[in-house]
């Protein structure tokens, strides 16, 4: 079973790669067609003063896929990309489930499994977004790239053979604490994709034509990206708060005798939390530019990566599952 899990994960990474290639193909072929434009829940909903209104916005109820138009090559490749992406998601799920079966427990007992689970959530959220709004498909290239990189890193530096749990992990808090953190982190991680693309698109709109900004040509409207970024982060934040700052301490109290002890993992969860709180503040403050706020969200992403990889590799702590294989 463990062997099967490894094979499924390898297949999942390959499928994500294939999806990435397809997304890239659409990216290259696709004109700045309907997709690019219809990507938006349009600006006219953005109320209040100073909402930028761009003129190539179409009404939000514009049918995006059903529209009877000539199907260009990009469109076709894009649909294939989504299909392959979904296949990869299924393989990913299979890898996770077989891992859990092999270990006879929830598949998040060590760093490798934790990353598999977190990236699975990230991927599932991404799939949900792309199915609900086919228009954001142009982000697929970046979403799958992020997934491939993280999964690759996980299997190279964190691979751990299937093993049982140490007694400290025998607790229902294990499931509550870790699952909420995994879901929260997964959403935060995938939230960084629209965040980065918003900054790129925004730069492109401002006339920047240097390298990363040239990518902005095909991605959805800046406003839509920014709003998607906020929605994902605002959804993930309470989950992460619950997992890291309530369930975690409750468990730590029962297990280690203190609810908060500045273990490196706790420190970095605290840092991530503070940074994301900073993002929400910045976004709620009219005098802070949306680009600045979004940079803060990306900073949060960096702290999440530090939490996923860095803390496990660099520091010694109580989180026993944190030991890399």
């Amino acid at each position: 079973m463990a062997e099967l899990s490894n094979q499924l994960m390898a297949a999942a990474v390959l499928a994500y790669l294939a999806a990435m290639v397809c997304y890239a193909g659409e990216y290259a072929f696709g004109k700045r067609s309907r997709i690019g434009r219809a990507a938006v829940r349009p600006a006219k909903q953005l109320v209040g003063a100073g909402a930028p209104v761009s003129d190539d916005v179409v009404p939000d109820d514009a049918p995006v896929v059903e529209e009877p138009v000539r199907r260009d090559r990009g469109e076709l490749v894009g649909r294939i990309a989504v299909g392959v992406n979904l296949l990869a998601l299924l393989l990913h799920l299979g890898g996770l489930v077989t891992r859990g079966v092999a270990a006879d427990r929830m598949p998040w007992g060590n760093m490798y499994e934790y990353i598999l689970a977190t990236t699975f959530i990230a991927s599932a959220v991404w799939a949900g977004v792309v199915l609900a709004r086919p228009a954001v498909r142009h982000l697929g290239l970046f979403a799958t790239l992020a997934l491939v990189v993280m999964l690759g890193a996980a299997s190279m530096i964190a691979y751990t053979p299937v093993g049982p749990l140490v007694p400290a992990l025998h607790s229902y808090w294990f499931i509550i604490h870790v699952s909420t953190i995994i879901i929260g982190s997964g959403i935060f991680l995938i939230g960084a994709v629209p965040a980065a693309m918003f900054l790129i698109r925004n730069g492109y709109d401002e006339g920047k034509r240097r390298f990363p900004y040239t990518l902005g040509k095909h991605v959805p409207e800046a406003i839509a990206l920014e709003r998607l970024t906020f929605r994902l982060h605002a959804f993930a934040f309470p989950l992460f708060t619950f997992g890291a700052l309530i369930a975690g301490p409750i468990w730590a109290e029962a297990s280690w005798g203190r609810y908060w002890g500045w273990d490196p993992k706790e420190v970095w969860a605290f840092i991530s939390w503070i940074v994301y709180a900073g993002y929400l503040h910045a976004r709620a403050t009219p005098s802070v530019k949306r680009t600045v706020a979004t940079w803060i969200a990306l900073l949060g992403f960096v702290t999440m990566l530090m939490n996923l990889f860095g803390v496990n590799l660099f520091f010694e702590g109580l989180h026993s599952y944190a030991n890399a294989g």
Partner: protein, 540 residues
């Protein structure tokens, strides 16, 4: 704030303007401090300030690693010490950041709270003059009915949708309906920030009024202990706790069970203890990792376990002494190290004088499962093939000098000074369970057996419940705050001049409507359309 202190003392006759300026400065500093920008900067400072605590070892987390850091970086360590690098989270600079942040928070939240209370008690404001200027607005439409009646039914419909609604009649005979919804968002936001304060207070008081201690508890009724400071290996009392405040209880370990996976990974631990609270009779209780023993005024946590070999030493006068000494585990397979010291042996019964050159010490390893290849690391954490590897020392153990040494190793100074000499061979002597080792002077050491021991942490934190309640309330507030949307809608209902001959005569009404979301709310357009549609159909 600090700027104020640095100002030169006012001269003998301070001009009144100066006071004003001082006041203005104070007020401006306060405004600056309570601005959102400052809050953002302070949040970041707090995040950055937390980083060193994960990079450098922290005394509160693991004091031993601080010691090791001192050995590895003798130059750097004292400097770090001075900067609070080993106690980041109780350092003055870390505290000053979060205290400033919380001052800012109070300064920010209190005025908003007052505003909010005012807003909650006020009716929604009257409609602006031109509703078609609002972000959402509907084209004017007419429908039958008298304005007053139509307005009332619109208002009723809004109320049913849990809008706070107010009807106003204007001098020209028209009516306005003002409605607002989403007050919970601000309520949630205030609740969240207030809850943060509660958490801070909970954490702070816990530090002042809490205490904790560690103890190794060896199995056996005679080896129990009662809750006094002298019984602990180490302890920390909060600044407001006196030793006499500790609750009265006694503990003894009656059984310890550990099960392991075939790989040696532990599967379960469970400790059975006898507990006596307030001098009552001993009751049997069981606890495990993740499920502490909750007593009145203290919790007992099971952190680890190990083995304590029972060693019987028979001296040259035939007198024997038995000691049970915990050996500390060094790896996952419970290879453990420890020491047995016998200071009161080889006492000549005639003179009854202790000979400090004849004290005995044994130092070495205990392997619960000695591997077949004879190497000196345990192969499994359970006791499948117990083996002791000991070296014997004779001489002055150095226990009388009064400097408390480690109870887990011999005094290296005594060995180096030649007062304590190794009297066994170069290689440690191996003892199986039940073996007796006869030393060079004819004295004997017998490996009688082992007892389990549990590593316990005993703690009391009086305000951890407050911190928990604060955190949960904060989360609820946060969800309200992030999920809510504050928005206003207005309807203007006036007599329709086209339908009715003269105003007031029953004929028809002309309606206009406008909506204003007060926060970024993409769904507002749909909601507004639905409200207008309901009003048009007259069955809101």
């Amino acid at each position: 704030m600090t700027v104020v202190e640095e100002r030169p003392a006012p001269s003998s006759a301070p001009p009144p303007r100066r006071v004003n300026r001082l006041w203005a400065l104070l007020r401006n500093s306060w405004r600056q401090l309570t601005s959102m920008r400052t809050a953002l900067v302070l949040l970041f400072l707090l995040a950055v300030a937390a980083i060193p605590g994960s990079v450098f070892p922290q005394r509160g987390v693991n004091a031993e690693r601080v010691t090791r850091y001192y050995q590895a970086h003798p130059q750097l360590a004292p400097w770090l010490e001075r900067l609070g690098g080993f106690e980041v989270y109780s350092s003055a600079w870390f505290a000053s950041i979060y205290l400033l942040l919380f001052t800012s928070l109070i300064g920010c939240v209190v005025p908003r709270l007052l505003d909010h209370v005012r807003a909650l008690r006020q009716a929604p404001p009257d409609a602006p003059k031109r509703l078609n200027r609002l972000p959402q607005h509907a084209e004017p439409w007419s429908q039958p009915g008298v304005p007053a009646e139509v307005a009332k039914s619109v208002a009723a419909g809004l109320r049913r949708r849990r809008f706070r609604t107010r009807l106003r009649e204007r001098e020209d005979g028209s009516w306005t309906v003002s409605a607002e919804k989403g007050y919970l968002k601000e309520t949630g936001n205030l609740l969240f920030h207030a809850a943060l304060l509660a958490v801070l207070i909970g954490v702070g008081f816990g530090h002042w009024y809490g205490w904790h201690a560690n103890r190794i508890l060896i199995g056996g009724n005679e080896l129990g202990f009662c809750n006094t400071l002298t019984q602990y290996d180490d302890s920390t009392l909060g600044p407001r706790v006196e030793p006499a405040d500790l609750p009265n209880f006694c503990l003894r370990l009656t059984d310890f069970e550990a099960t392991f996976q075939s790989t040696g990974q532990p599967r379960t631990f469970s400790a059975t203890v006898g507990v006596s609270e307030d001098n009552g009779p001993y009751e049997t209780r069981k606890f495990t990792v993740n499920d502490p023993l909750r007593l009145d005024g203290a919790n007992v946590y099971l952190l680890g376990h190990g083995y304590a070999p029972i060693l019987k030493y028979t001296d040259r006068y035939g007198v024997s002494q038995t000691k049970v000494v915990p050996f500390l585990p060094m790896d996952a397979m419970q290879t453990s190290e420890g020491v047995a010291q016998f200071p009161d042996v080889n006492i000549d019964p005639k003179s009854d004088k202790r000979d400090s050159t004849l004290q005995m010490g044994f130092e070495g390893l205990y392997l619960p499962t000695s591997p077949t290849d004879g190497s000196a690391t345990s192969a499994f954490p359970a006791e499948n093939n117990p083996m002791l590897y000991l070296s014997a020392y004779r001489g002055d153990l150095g226990l009388d000098v009064g400097t408390p040494g480690s109870v887990y190793s011999l005094d290296q100074g005594q060995i180096a000074g030649g007062d304590l000499k190794k009297v066994s061979g170069d290689r440690p002597h191996a003892l199986k369970l039940g073996d007796t080792w006869t030393l060079d002077d004819g004295t004997k050491l017998e490996f009688v057996g082992t007892r389990p021991f549990a590593t316990l942490s005993i703690r009391h934190d009086p305000t951890q419940v407050l911190a928990l309640v604060g955190a949960v309330v904060g989360l609820l507030g946060l969800m309200l705050s992030l999920g809510g949307h504050r928005r206003r809608v207005w309807f203007h209902v006036q007599p329709d001049a086209d339908l009715a001959g003269s105003p007031g005569e029953s004929g028809g009404t002309l309606l206009t409507a406008g909506g204003l979301p007060r926060t970024d709310y993409p769904g507002f357009e749909d909601e507004f359309k639905a409200l207008v549609k309901a009003a048009e159909e007259g069955t809101p």
